[in-house]
């Protein structure tokens, strides 16, 4: 296959970036998308040019490192597939492909296709956990959990934290990411003691980090390589509302018992 690439090149956060074009004439359809980039980078290196920087690690769709917008879609044209699991057979011979980094104010560009997603870590720090210090657990079977809830919690927990949801959202909202963690823990008995403070704290941090609001476009779910459901956002909104009422956060409300 012969491919033409238009790649966003930007040396650092402070410098301006622009698109540059590269030809890839020796592409096999069995290559993964990142293997195609490896081949391009090997050639750039040999020619004395700076190879294209991109994040990647496990290359099996689970670590969440890879973060390339391919032809306007985070992770490219194939549903439920990370860029590292995308194969060149998904493109026609002679295709011209555009590569950009995740674009969101809360994900500053580090270099080329590499962005800083540490805001996600800070959202988790704000409450994406159960406060159970090592050693204080009861027997695993002492806590029976309805299979359906366990399965729904697993669906939410499958999030790989790649940030495609943010990149796809016209508002650069992190609602899908944040709600997946909130939902997972709200569905399980282990998550109950901290349920209300968790949702308030994580949503507050999400806002502080500069992510936008949700206006129900649903682009996040369409772009998500793990099919994380919009239902999680609904669960989060409901929990946030209840939590806000409980803590008397709603304007005009002064009694804590209003929602109980």
């Amino acid at each position: 296959m012969k491919i033409k690439l238009n790649v966003w090149r930007q040396r650092s956060r402070a410098e301006a970036g622009s698109f540059e074009s590269y030809a890839a004439d020796d592409v096999s359809e069995d290559m993964s998308f990142l293997e195609m980039l490896d081949v391009v980078n090997e050639r750039l290196t040999t020619e004395g040019k700076d190879p294209i920087a991109f994040d990647h690690d496990c290359r099996e769709g689970i670590c969440g490192s890879c973060s390339i917008v391919i032809d306007g879609r985070p992770h490219g044209p194939k549903d439920r597939t990370t860029a590292c699991q995308l194969h060149m057979r998904s493109f026609p011979d002679g295709a011209e492909i555009t590569l950009e980094p995740w674009r969101a104010g809360a994900f500053p560009i580090v270099k080329d296709l590499v962005v800083d997603r540490s805001a996600f870590d800070r959202i988790i720090q704000a409450g994406g956990f159960v406060s159970v210090p090592t050693g204080s657990a009861v027997d695993g079977n002492a806590l029976p959990i309805e299979k359906e809830n366990a399965d729904l919690a697993m669906d939410a927990a499958a999030c790989i934290g790649c940030g495609a949801c943010v990149a796809a959202c016209p508002n650069a909202s992190a609602m899908l990411f944040t709600s997946a963690k909130i939902s997972q823990l709200a569905l399980l008995p282990q998550g109950q003691p901290e349920r209300w403070r968790r949702v308030l704290s994580m949503v507050e941090t999400m806002d502080e980090e500069g992510f936008g609001s949700c206006t129900n476009h649903g682009e996040c779910m369409a772009a998500c390589p793990k099919s994380i459901s919009l239902d999680n956002i609904a669960r989060m909104n409901r929990d946030w509302m209840r939590a806000a009422l409980r803590s008397g956060r709603r304007a005009g409300s002064t009694t804590e018992s209003a929602a109980d």
Binding site: K49, P51, D55, C63, I124, V130, T134, I145, A157
Partner: protein, 637 residues
Amino acid sequence: MKLDPTIPAGPLETKWDRHQLEMKLVSPANKRKYRVIVVGTGLAGASAAATMAESGYQVSAYCFQDSPRRAHSIAAQGGINAAKNYQNDGDSVYRLFYDTIKGGDFRAREANVYRLAQTSMKIIDQCVAQGVPFAREYGGVLANRSFGGAQVSRTFYARGQTGQQLLLGAYSALQRMVGLGRVRMFARHEMLELIVVNGVARGIVTRDLVSGEVRSHVADAVVLATGGYGNVFYLSTNAKGCNTTANWRAYKHGAAFANPCFTQIHPTCIPVSGDYQSKLTLMSESLRNDGRIWVPKQQGDKRQPQTIPEDERDYYLERKYPSYGNLAPRDIASRAAKEACDSGRGVGRTGLGVYLDFASAIERLGEPVIRERYGNLFEMYERITAENPYTTPMRIFPATHYTMGGLWVDYNLMSTIPGLHVIGEANFSDHGANRLGASALMQGLADGYFILPHTIGHWLATAKLEDVTTDHPAVKAAEAAVAARTQRLLSIGGKRTAASFHRELGQIIWDECGLARNASGLKSALERLPKLREEFWHDLNVPGDGAGLNQSLERAGRVADFLELGELMCLDALKREESCGGHFRVEHQTEDGEALRDDERFCHVAAWEYAGDDRDPIRHTEPLRFDFVNLAQRSYK
């Protein structure tokens, strides 16, 4: 060099309890006075950093990825073992201990493995409490599945993403501590040097991968949780960034490297499709619960698999190992696949593949059941190969997956450098010459949650530590070493990329130190590797500079270390003149081709001491004593 494993006396069942009583403690009020560095944030590192911070230590944690959640433990699929006996099928701590010792072909320490089996149950409880969504039955209780090398169902799982869920559990505990200011987290930082002051590990030198800044960090203890070295093979199931650099720096400062030739080749991976291949993808061992492995009986049979009649197929694992069948341990299943392909019966375009067939399971259980059990794995397979495994058997082939060897540690998980502790896959301690499936997650979390947080207290309470600041000459020397090495890599100005050297190294190691090894091949590798290393240092091309994000520079440094480690692996494989577990020397096999151990001469750990760049490393041994189990020839027939 003295290798004292410091194994406590007394009966196997009470060694760990007694040891915990005998160890010195650091009082809660004093813990905050101690600083601990943890390098790596996989299962072992994240769980250790979180647990130590919870108990009061000042912890700093480091990872090269952009977030601690991306460490490669995330990719573990199948499950985690624990001797809960929830299935009432006769499991016990002793049985898990015995299965692990036997699975490792009697090349691990009894005391360590017993402690691991004891600890296994607390791990499940801890992870459940964190909200890890393990698979459940309709009654609400935890579900189990079977794994290789065991005849009981003791594996806990979260679909095909058990590693991800366990890591996110440990990561959430770590993030909680970061949020509370009790762990300082340094992501996108790579450890490039160990700081040793008067023989004691006191810190690390890191490079900030974004700014290029080189900085020292000093502490009262250093913990390496930096994973295995499977990427020495270039192609492996490891993530691209997995490397041996931290461990290699420690080795060069005097930490003994134990059993480097003990590497695990996993039987069920997707075969190589071309020379651009950058990594290999594992298909979980759990698939062998329902998939049947076969090749055609005829050599060179190119018919479509579905058209080959039953009686012309060789279900070779079921034939050779009737009692374990398709669930024979990994080393045995991998070698059997190689034999089938070597005999000209391999399948697929390259002839390097065997079938893993679900047709009979689908007929027995129906497609929906198989989809529920393995749906995500089948999807992943189809994405990579463009073949539908519900209708066409999967093609699989062995690939490097795990390294049992690693830095030598005593019972307290401390290396031969006082103060330097090593946990998880980075150490050598629990799996002997072959690791059983679903035991890596167990070991990483046992070390991190339940063992190291106690044993490190003993070190801190008993060591007389001098004050060290970042102006100390040893610190300055370590920084200078990093600067010099970086400069050297950048200034060669040759023609070849680091990746091209890595690929060549991997081919040599795969051919000569892979599934089967022999003396002449290993000797030839030991002649070729120094030449390759010399070429590397003369003809390497690293573009750019060290002042910012430079992925080529990162990679070059890692390949430089792999080139040296590869030599040590081959040397270790040459000197271990027996076959055991994943180390198969063709000169040492039984009449029917099974591994033949030599317990007279090799019932020991081989731990290598670095002696200088121009001298051969020194081989030390730690004899392995089996006081509680009989050394038997491993049989899965």
